[in-house]
């Protein structure tokens, strides 16, 4: 007997007992739909988290931070100049595994345009900042080497600054406009795009919620980037810093931030060693710096994603197992109802194997149909979840998740069919024929 015939018989049998078959499928339907939904939810969280990781600079992002000097070297504190542009130069010169270095000066200043003013953090940066901080341009250009060399009064602003200085204006209109930082005139040369989560972007585009009503109350990972006021490093130093520290040159001014980008993640450790080596020399052996990486932070996020996946998957798996038991129960009931039929089939020449295959095919078919219904249910369930409790991360239904869940259901159907099938195939034809 071939599988096609077994499938025909199975479908016939399922069709003959629609309600019973549906009941036995129900467990699988619930199991598959919850498994797919869980996978979709975690896939959404995963995607959101990865997008966030990318936005904050990715794993390649390394920050040189200040640190308290250890007791052993405390006496030599004044040997170290701290984090300066020399550090950046040293890293560029002797750490070839580093692709970009971004030293920064920062200070809070009043920014104003005619009619509007605000206090914001202003940062003096080099062109490398564009890459290290993972910026994109919406209109205009980023700061160039020429801006820094000449100390030009150019500025690149984020989306929130645009809204604060020229409410209602579009990014394209403000390039070339002047505004003031602590009363010194600057010209906007470029505007950054609005950085936001996928979900926020979608909601804004659908026009559901006004862009600032909820976000302002919530901590927003991209707020820092959206509030950027970026000017050339040299301009920052000469306009706003030099007066405060007359003895400093631009080279020796203490940096507020020194971040960099690792060229190749496979060489992450050697790269860190190179950076340490370079900084040990510029800091004259004083351990007043440390390298801060995203590894641990990202690892924590990854492991929490894994934990979510695992626990959700486990619960869904349990319900699939329960569904499988439901199928087994129905199949057992079905074969004890069909003993005589099995006896007749045996009498006309069916082998035990044929009966076994038939029961297995039936049970797998029930599971498969249940799985397909489960996929439909999952689509509905996810739609309901989206509208009832909009999460930060949109659930993503993946083909992989669907295939995995339905495959799992089929396996559950197969396993739960084995025992009933064995029992059916071992029936004795004579007593089966006599069975009433």
């Amino acid at each position: 007997m071939n599988l096609l015939v077994a499938l025909q018989i199975g479908l016939h049998e399922i069709g003959a007992h629609k309600f019973r078959s549906f009941l036995s499928m129900l467990g699988i339907v619930l199991g598959v739909s919850s498994l797919i939904s869980t996978l979709a939810l975690t896939a959404g969280i995963e995607r959101g988290t990865r997008a966030f990781m990318q936005q904050v600079g990715g794993l390649e992002y390394v920050s040189v931070v200040g640190k308290e000097i250890s007791n052993a070297k405390f006496e030599f504190w004044n040997l170290s100049p701290g984090r300066t542009l020399r550090d950046a130069a040293a890293i560029r010169a002797s750490a070839p595994f580093v692709s970009h270095v971004s030293p920064e000066l920062a200070f809070g200043a009043a920014i104003s345009s005619p009619g509007h003013s605000d206090r914001k953090q202003v940062r003096g940066v080099f062109p490398d900042h564009f890459v290290v901080a993972r910026h994109e341009m919406k209109v205009g250009r980023f700061l160039t080497g020429l801006d820094v060399e000449r100390g030009l009064h150019s500025a690149v602003i984020g989306d929130d600054i645009l809204a604060a200085l020229w409410p209602g204006s579009k990014a394209g209109e403000v390039v070339g406009r002047q505004f003031r930082i602590n009363d010194r005139p600057f010209e906007v040369v470029g505007v950054l795009p609005k950085y936001e989560r996928e979900e926020d972007r979608r909601r804004r585009e659908a026009g559901k919620v006004s862009p600032n009503s909820r976000q302002s109350r919530r901590w927003d990972a991209f707020r820092g980037k959206n509030e950027s006021v970026l000017i050339p490093f040299s301009t920052m130093f000469y306009e706003f810093k030099a007066g405060a520290f007359p003895l400093d040159s631009m080279e020796s001014a203490r940096l507020d931030s020194l971040t960099l980008r690792v060229a190749d993640l496979d060489k992450f450790r050697p790269t860190l060693d190179q950076i340490r080596g370079a900084l040990d020399i510029t800091h004259r052996g004083v351990d007043d710096f440390d390298l801060e990486t995203r590894e641990e932070w990202f690892d924590r996020m990854e492991s929490s994603i894994r934990a979510t996946k695992l626990s959700g998957g486990l619960i869904a798996t349990i319900s699939l197992v329960v569904g499988g038991i439901g199928i087994m129960n129905i199949m057992l009931a079905s074969i004890s109802e069909r003993v005589r039929e099995i006896g007749i089939r045996l009498a006309v020449g069916a082998k035990g194997r044929d009966i076994f295959v038939q029961i297995i095919v039936e049970s797998v078919t029930i599971a498969f149909i249940g799985g397909l219904l489960g996929v439909l249910a999952a689509i509905g369930l996810i739609a309901i979840l989206k509208s009832l409790a909009p999460t930060e991360n949109v659930p993503v239904m993946t083909l992989g998740g669907i295939v995995f869940s339905v495959g799992f259901a089929i396996i559950a159907g197969f396993l739960s069919g084995i025992y009933p099938a064995l029992r059916a195939s071992r029936l004795n034809p004579i007593s089966a024929l006599r069975y009433e």
């Binding site: 003959a16 007749i344 009498a347 006309v348």
Partner: protein, 226 residues
């Protein structure tokens, strides 16, 4: 060579620690083309004998050959394939599948001999027409009379073109006129060259055959030609 050959065949059932000797070293030969009746009261062992001859069961001891297959120690699978190829059954209770229509009931043995669907259907339809059910192909057993049901069963028994047809009380559930007609069909089949083995408790019915084997207490008590 005999179609059926039994030498010292016994069948022993164990119920608890009691042994029930349902068949006690039976010797029997049936040649191709014979029309044989096996008669005996209930409990005589005639059903057991029919189960053995019909390859539904293997003997406990002794030598059994059917259509050239040595089935003395046969596995369930070998018995099944001999049943499928060489043997057709007609039961007292018809034993049709109520969920299937006539054609599908008739083609059941072909399903297990691995034929493709179009050929199965063609052969099943022909077999059904041969027993006079050409206009009932799409009917279910509940829509048929007892006699029609038994004819479906005969069509099913013949569809694989087996060498032996076993009939176990084939008229037991039918009125006498219909029963007469069914017996007539067996006679015709036998005239066509088919070996028929009829099991019954009624010597009157056994009279249609040309050789009667009477069983009692698990042994062949006598043989006669009616």
């Amino acid at each position: 060579m005999s179609l059926i050959r039994l030498e010292g065949v016994s069948k022993i059932y164990r119920v608890g620690d009691q042994e029930i000797r349902a068949l006690d070293s039976v010797d029997l030969r049936i040649e191709e083309g014979e029309f044989v009746s096996i008669i005996g009261p209930s409990g005589s062992g005639k059903s057991t004998l029919m189960h053995l001859l019909g390859c539904l069961d293997a003997p406990t001891s002794g030598r059994m050959e059917i259509c050239g297959n040595d089935l003395s120690k046969a596995s369930q699978n070998l018995l099944a394939s001999v049943r499928n190829r060489e043997i057709g059954f007609v039961f007292q209770a018809f034993n049709l599948l109520p969920k299937l229509d006539v054609v599908h009931n008739v083609e059941l043995p072909l399903v297990y001999s691995g034929l493709r669907a179009p050929e199965r259907r063609a052969r099943a339809e022909k077999a059904a027409r041969d027993v006079g059910l050409g206009d009932r192909l799409a009917n279910r057993p509940v829509q048929l009379s007892g006699g029609q049901c038994q004819r479906v069963a005969i069509a099913r028994a013949l569809v694989n073109n087996p060498r032996i047809v076993f009939a176990d009380e084939p008229t037991g559930n039918l009125d006498s006129a219909t029963g007469e007609m069914i017996l007539r069909m067996f006679e015709e089949l036998n005239v066509g060259g088919r070996t028929i083995v009829l099991v019954t408790h009624d010597p009157g019915i056994a009279a249609v055959s040309r050789r009667v084997i009477e069983i009692r207490d698990g042994k062949i008590r006598r043989e006669y030609a009616p």
